[in-house]
Amino acid sequence: MYDFELLKPATIDEAAAMLAEGDAQALGGGQTLIPTMKARLAQMDRLVALSGIDAIRGVCTDDDGRICIGGGTSHATVAREYAKSYPALASLAGRIGDPAVRSRGTIGGSLANNDPSACYPAAALASNATIVTNTRDIGADDFFQGMFTTALEEGEIITEVRFPVPEKAAYEKFIQPASRFPLVAVFVAKFADGVRVAVTGASSDGVFRWSEAEQALSDDWSADVVAGLAAPGAEGMISDLHGDGAYRAHLVKVMTARAVKGAV
């Protein structure tokens, strides 16, 4: 790893001030960034560790019934806290990486990185979550802007993520066994006013909504209706040694049908 100075702010304001100066980068749980730095694929003069900021850790429920998860909350905590109140989200969190990754990895880090194969972006987009930062609220539809790209400005920190809780939801992941990331995964969420379907792992633009499936499922919530749809186009899908674009497109359809079937 290249050398850097590690800064440990205790508050968001301190962290924001540190990030505003020179070549600085925020560190969440470090389960992606630290391996990237060890491989010398990333370097910075100053690394601002968010792990000491108590205010962005933990969970609560707001007046609208939305669940609010601090940006620095670990996957293990989400898996534990929401097993009953939002089981699809808890199940997603409880299947990220492995237990040691889930102890350290955070929801804010995952969303800010927006890896095209990460799990959390699918939950945030399908649930129509609001990403709260130290400066503003960003709707999930505006937040994800392509592979490793989000609406976050330089130095902006995710402090909280607010999830409306759907009537029914599920996350179906077709795992890439070596990395334990999804090869393709689909999060479906059924709300009173319609269904949202978010797909991760498939598109080279990162997480996306499969609108044809959303319309069909809003009219008729059944796995059979998904079977009747054409798979999304293979164009723009990730194609690599693990699976070509057409295969991933097919998996989108299969995972969506399974998610609808398994939704609770």
Binding site: M1, Y2, D3, F4, E5, L6, K8, L27, G30, Q31, I34, P35, M37, K38, A39, L47, A49, S51, G52, A76, G97, D98, P99, A100, V101, S103, R104, R180
Partner: protein
């Protein structure tokens, strides 16, 4: 450079750390606790798993300075008070849960976390929990048997999967 202090296996320990010093380096080079192994150094193999404030963590994927004041347990802290092998360690010996032994520290620490969370896991739950611990000897069946035995459950003569 700065001094970092943690409670390691019940004792307060201090050693120097740079910003980039990983917990595993701090333990192995700073404290000479070399039981925690570095297998892959790419955060995939789990040989370096230790407990930080009670939770399993890959010691190669966390910075020592971030953990100033933390409570850490390593494989050196898994023996019983009289120095004899702890229950999980003894089960690994009894069921031949190690071949070359390189992955064993991480396996034992992960198994200990599992049994704290879930004292009577099913065999499938053991396999799922140990997903992040890789054994290059591929001795998984006996590792699973050892964990089942350590939990006080019956051990299937032939592993299921």
């Amino acid at each position: 450079m700065g001094k970092v202090t943690m409670t390691v296996n019940g004792k307060s320990r201090t050693a120097e750390a740079e910003g980039r010093t990983l917990l595993v380096e701090w333990l192995r080079e700073g404290l000479r606790l070399t039981g925690t192994h570095v297998g892959c150094d790419t955060s995939q193999c789990g040989a370096c798993v230790v407990h930080v404030d009670g939770a399993p963590v890959k010691a190669c994927t966390v910075l020592a300075q971030e953990l100033d004041g933390a409570e850490v347990r390593t494989i050196e802290g898994m023996a019983d008070a009289d120095g004899s092998l702890g229950t999980i360690q003894q089960a690994f010996q009894d069921y031949h849960g190690l071949q070359c032994g390189f992955c064993t520290p991480g396996m034992v620490m992960s198994a200990a976390s599992l049994l704290e969370e879930n004292p009577k896991p099913s065999e499938a739950e053991v396999r799922h929990y140990l997903e992040g611990n890789i054994c290059r000897c591929t001795g998984y069946h006996n590792i699973v048997k050892a964990v089942m035995a350590a939990s006080g459950q019956e051990v299937a003569p032939v592993a299921a999967e």
